[in-house]
């Protein structure tokens, strides 16, 4: 069964064709990685899915419903959630407050406290809970934002470069975190440059290049694809 379906999605920024007739189908329950060179249009595709940008043409279907015209917050209510490329935590507020803001619309009172505690433990940020989020390390900010995104219990979690700025160990931990979420039934679409992470988690991989779906398959198929290697070396004529 497909959870997300992009149909002939197009987006222009002036003369720049950032998203060029993209077709993409996510299966419910999979971890899908989206890779591609800088400027390929990956983050833009996320913004289209989230309703921050609106496509010039094409449709976005989520769980069978056409959400192309929905406002962002309404898409979140349908079961989408995101961690942005640049960590979007509430910098001036404490770690605890960041999580409270994410959790408060579904939990109240003592239950809310318990949920915050559970999430802090999941993220390994218990000792940082009183810390101002802006003072966290880059990796910790990434985790905090992942935590906020996850706290909505989304059906589809969008992660834009979740391991940027992390050490190999931290990257591996993040991978395990994603796998645990997936085991609980969360579908994941992750943009990632780190191939070790992709190899660790991805069930399927899609390569985006110049706004187009360039290749799709398992990580082994993608790595073996010479055309993909070529675009990463900057020699492609897509």
């Amino acid at each position: 069964m497909s959870l997300l379906e992009l149909r002939k999605l197009n987006k222009h920024f002036g003369g720049l064709h950032v998203t060029n007739s993209v077709d993409l189908t996510l299966r419910a329950g999979e971890i899908h990685c989206l890779i591609g060179p800088n400027g390929a249009g990956k983050s833009t595709l996320f913004r289209l899915i989230l309703g921050e940008h609106h496509p010039g043409s094409g449709d976005i279907l989520f769980a069978g419903e056409n959400i192309t015209a929905l406002k962002s917050f309404a898409r979140i209510h349908r079961g989408l959630s995101v961690k942005f490329q640049v960590p979007g935590v509430f910098k001036g507020l404490s770690v605890r407050q960041n999580l409270e803001i994410a959790l408060q619309s579904r939990h109240r009172g003592r239950e809310l406290e318990a949920e915050i505690g559970r999430l802090l433990a999941f993220l390994g940020l218990e000792s940082e809970q009183a810390q101002i989020a802006g003072n966290l390390s880059h990796g910790q900010k990434q985790w905090l934002e992942i935590g906020m995104a996850v706290s909505l219990k989304p059906r589809l979690l969008l992660l834009d470069e979740p391991t940027a700025g992390m050490s190999p160990e931290e990257t591996h931990m993040t991978g395990e975190m994603v796998q645990r979420l997936n085991a609980d039934g969360m579908t994941v679409l992750a943009i990632e440059h780190d191939m070790a992470f992709v190899r660790q988690v991805a069930h399927r991989v899609t390569v985006l290049h110049l706004g187009q779906v360039f290749a799709q398959g398992s990580i082994d198929e993608i790595v073996a694809d010479e055309r993909v290697a070529a675009i990463y070396l900057g020699q492609a004529h897509a």
Partner: protein, 354 residues
């Protein structure tokens, strides 16, 4: 019962400075002094204190919209003026019998709030933010001032109330509470003092509760990162609009009380200077904290008045210097800086004692 308890617990929280027995003890002490003060003072001084208190509401409105919500509005004086004129027009037409002045107070504040609903809807649902929000609100304020200033002719009247152009409206009845026998007229001294003090304490505490509630959480989240707030599922436009309307009502309350206090209102109360001053009080005090805003506003107003004796131009220059100093030394506000410093000392002392 538990709901009430939960509400009172929100008097303290991460969004408001000041907590614990030390803070509330001090609060009670200040309140007691404020309550006893008219007994030891003359009518003029008490009336002058009311004048200071009146401005705190507009300062709090700016604290809410700008300090907590992150939207710099120059429009607070517009709501101030609308409500002030509204009160004048209503009471000059319908008089003060049967407690009508109190109805007019509420109605004038409601008119300002209604105006904010329209303006706010256009701005927030049109996704106007940042500098543009400042420009739009300032333009509205100055347009209102210009408009009211040219209403000198006799053709400009609403009912029996002449708008009177640049000279403004005057001689509207003061607040009058119906009372068996003799109605109580709240002139600008002790009577009005207790009413305004009561309103001030109520608004201050209510805003503390509001800002430490889940609503307040969303408001500061929008200030910190509107995109992230929306991507947590919040329709941020609604939250911004509600905050804007509450702020407008508070600014309107300021306007009505000002009109009641001096029994006049002029277009210059919506002018450039009038729009800039609350910004300075709030910035100097500490825009992101209610207590700092109240203290800062009262201190700066008192200093301003003391300096006006030497000429109002000096006082205005002083305001400018104060603002620059604040931005350089304590960008989050001088009073807030001092309060945080005291808070740190208190924590250290209790740690040493414990």
């Amino acid at each position: 019962m538990t709901g009430l308890l939960a509400m009172f617990r929100r008097l303290e929280g991460p969004q408001t400075a000041g907590r614990g027995p030390a803070f509330w003890g001090l609060f009670a002490l200040v309140l007691a002094v404020a309550l006893a003060y008219p007994l030891f003072s003359d009518g003029y001084t008490v009336g002058n204190t009311v004048y200071f208190f009146v401005w705190v509401f507009i300062a709090l409105s700016l604290c809410l919209i700008w300090g907590y919500g992150g939207s710099l509005s120059f429009g607070q004086t517009a709501f101030f003026g609308i409500a002030g004129y509204g009160y004048g027009i209503l009471t000059i037409n319908f008089g003060s019998a049967y407690g009508f002045t109190l109805v007019a107070l509420v109605a004038a504040v409601a008119i300002a709030a209604l105006f904010a609903v329209l303006l706010g809807y256009f701005m927030f649902f049109g996704r106007i933010a940042g500098v543009f929000l400042g420009i739009v609100t300032l333009a509205v304020t100055l347009m209102l001032e210009r408009f009211m200033a040219q209403t000198a002719g006799p053709e400009w009247h609403i009912g029996t109330a002449r708008l009177n152009g640049f000279n403004g409206m005057s001689a509207m009845p003061p607040l009058t509470i119906p009372w068996p026998g003799e109605p109580i007229v709240l002139f600008a001294d002790v009577g009005l003092y207790y009413l305004v003090l009561g309103l001030l304490v109520f608004v201050y505490l209510a805003l503390r509760i509001l800002m430490n509630s889940s609503f307040g959480n969303v408001i500061v989240a929008i200030r910190e990162n509107p995109e992230r707030a929306e991507m947590l599922g919040y329709d941020i436009r609604k939250y911004q609009l509600i905050t804007f309307v509450i702020g407008a009502a508070l600014a309107g309350l300021s306007g009505v009380l000002y009109t009641v206090w001096g029994q006049y209102i002029t277009p210059s109360s919506m002018g450039m200077t009038a729009a800039a001053l609350p910004l300075i009080w709030v910035a100097v005090g500490g825009r992101s904290d209610l207590t700092s805003t109240v203290i800062g506003t009262l201190v700066v107003l008192a200093a301003f008045q003391a300096l006006t004796i030497y000429g109002s131009q000096y006082a205005l220059v002083f305001m400018g210097v104060l603002l620059v100093l604040t931005v350089l030394i304590a960008p989050n506000g001088l009073v807030l800086g001092v309060m945080n410093w005291l808070g740190r000392i208190a924590t250290r002392l209790t740690q040493r004692a414990g």
